[in-house]
Amino acid sequence: MFESLGLEVLAYSPPGWGGTLIHGLGMTLKIAFGAYFLGLLIGLCGALGKIYGGATVKWSLEIYTTIIRAVPELVLILLLYYAGTDLLNRVLEWLGYERVDISGLVAGICVLGVVQGAYSIEVIRGAILSVSAGQIEAAKASGMSWTLMHRRIIIPLAVPLALPGLANLWLIVTKDTALLAVVGFSELALATKQAAGGTKEYLLFYIAAALLYLMVSLTSNAIFKTIERHYRRGQASAEA
């Protein structure tokens, strides 16, 4: 029955291509995680810079977020990929080291992380600015230092406000990893393309890949709902 449907090409071990797809999915998740957390780091620093920084810092961050958000991800990935490796090698040569070949994984994480960072900055900045002034005044009145006030009061209060935006960014980065297929990085989308080309079962493999991505999205949605419920405990629900 299955053989008549042609599903044996999905078997895990060769000649089936199932293993290739699962391996691709693993790479996709690795890049997505790495890029997401790099993006969060850039986002947190950038948001603080945009709020408290001097004019130069503010303007450079403004240019960064505006340009990244106006240029297609595909173009950015190509630009950052070539420019990034080129720049690194020039610096290395200048310092007297050998040129290096950067692994696809690291390059993918850095490129997508820089793109994510621009969006994260806006989400986190918005959340920090929405923390109510009374809380901040109370923290100042208790004599907290700037660092302590941010660590204990502002950031924890900003997290639930930022969560919906951050959840959205995670869903975007898992889908954006597919664009790395265009620069030849072997994650789920490229693995699927190879499997489809190898077997001529285009429809079957693209549907299989779509289902894998959908599974990741639906699972992530469920996890983020749980996290959000945890952080919003004791707060009035906006939807009630």
Binding site: V71, V75, Y82, L171, L203, Y206, A209, L214, L218
Partner: protein, 235 residues
Amino acid sequence: MEWYWVTEYAPKFVEGLWITIQLLVLSIGFGMALATPIGLVQVTGPKPLALLAKGFCSVIRGTPLLIQLWLIYYGLGSLFPSIPLIRESMLWPILRDAFPYAVFAFSLSVAGYSGEVMRGAFASVNKGELEAGRAFGMSRFTLLRRIWFPRAIQNVLPTLAGEFILTLKSTPLAATITVFDVYGVGSMVRQETYRIYEPLLLVAGIYICLSGIIIGFFRWIEHRSAQRRLVGVEH
């Protein structure tokens, strides 16, 4: 940086720009025509249709556009030649070209993302306004055309502008299925001239201009349809 190639390839870039604009306008047009009923049935029911619409939005929003595009072009596209009825039909010359597949994929994507926006938009229209319309004896269709739809659209114009910019930014994916849009022309120039950065920078600049035009256009519409607001509600 060397830009000597710009004059030589300028006509190609203009052609590419035209393809990009066609892709964008057609996808938004077809997409919104689908998004409106998708949003509406989720608010009005009937339940099975609402569930179907919700499922459609989840699938579109939960999978990468690149995969959807390849699924439609390589997947569906590989089925058509094997059906003699289609091969002999008038549609065949259209179905051999990649452009319609790109429009189809992007339209579905717009429908999925904007369908979600339209659901919120229809739900957010003040009930009193709909009741007032009914009290005037408007039929359901007139009510939708004259009150519900315009009010809903007005509420979400800025969100829709954001969605359309995302659509613009995803049009270069069409180049992966051999559509020569601006990005596709840029890639071709890169291969022919061996310049790595300059064509990409030019392409990036063109997209920034197009985003700017969309933002300006929506500001203009919002300004024209300025509604009476309570002071202090906005900012």
